[in-house]
């Protein structure tokens, strides 16, 4: 299925993020092979160069590795790595803003967590 791409971000970036999300959520496991560039290009109706770019980014970020003659495989420990990174991004970039908002609205921890169960 050709997904609806967000027109704001370059497609290769969106694809990168999609793979990362899938790894984090456990849909793609460590040691699993990524589908070939061709297959993804054909499936998503996107040109293969864009797909290659996304795959290259995944390689550069140490999330996948190339196994000679066999393609790209998710590196062992990638999920942990991603989890750490996302945690760091969240704690450094997003959390301070949210914390400010919580303080501004004078919400207590119980109120915040209660909202989750209701």
């Amino acid at each position: 299925m050709a997904p609806q791409w967000d027109s704001e971000k370059p497609i290769y970036l969106q694809l990168y993020q999609q793979v990362v999300a899938r790894i984090l959520d456990g849909y793609i496991t460590e040691g699993e092979a990524l589908p070939s560039v061709r297959k993804v290009a054909a499936e998503y109706q996107v040109n293969p160069i864009t797909i290659s770019k996304a795959y290259q980014m995944l390689q550069d970020e140490q999330i996948v590795e190339k196994q000679r003659g066999k393609g790209l495989f998710v590196k062992p420990g990638a999920q942990e790595l991603m989890l750490d990174r996302e945690r760091e991004t969240f704690l450094v970039q997003q959390w301070p803003e949210i914390l400010k908002q919580i303080t501004r609205l004078n919400l207590s921890a119980e109120q915040l967590l209660a909202g989750e169960h209701s």
Binding site: A2, S7, R38, A42, Q45, V46, N47, I49, T50
Partner: protein, 286 residues
Amino acid sequence: MSELISITGLNKSYGKKHVVNDVNLSVHAGQIVGLVGPNGAGKTTCLQALLGLTDFEGDINVLGHHPRNDREKMLNDVAYISDVAILPKWLKVSQALTYMSEIHPNFDIEKASAFLAKTNILLNDKVKALSKGMVTQLHLALVLAVDAKVLVLDEPTLGLDILTRRQFYTHLLEDFYTEDKCIVITTHQIEEIEHILTDVAFIQEGKIVLAESADGIRERFKLLAVTQDNVEKAKQLKPLFSNSLMGLTTMLFDDQKAETLQMLGNISVPSLADIFVGVMTKEICA
């Protein structure tokens, strides 16, 4: 990457009508170039000149061959699918396969048969018994089996239902495309192939009005949503076109810095269709 197609100073007139006017185009290996333009813009003529199907003025070089003088050798590595449903009605599928395998040095009959086996096309069918989508599938099978280096597609999906259109591009990307080949495609359905293209060329009244890589085009053009109070200021920056609806005006800008525009409203990336309409309209009004 190596240049597979080089067109310089292409001109063609039918009598007094100047159909193609000084067109320059260069296609490298790995590129999927969309030649987009309104009807009568000269797209088909450009492609026909490329294939040696019509005479022309100017220089064209395809894979090192001249399309008229070196037609046969060039056509060993070039394939063509056109919307004008051009497989003859009396031809049987088996006859097409036999003929291609006998006259085409690069034709792999196994590949073609394997592809056809996945469709509803039978070997004994005549082309006249096939639906439009199946004829395109057959033509695609023949082209895939030739494994051409240059593929020229002239509105290949015209009149096909969405399922067949999707399948066409799927097969094109999965079974045909590699980084040492190139594809030149003309189509009216820009939205469909927007993400498949690596490069775009807009053609209008025989002239190329824009030629840019797909990434470059998205960086160059910006869509700005301005509120009424900023409209005048924005107009001074000379947008390509502007469209007002329900209190919000949308403007398309070429080569404007994001910072300049951000002060006036929300910027977003326009779709290729938006850019096409904008550029074409500007050319008409200019």
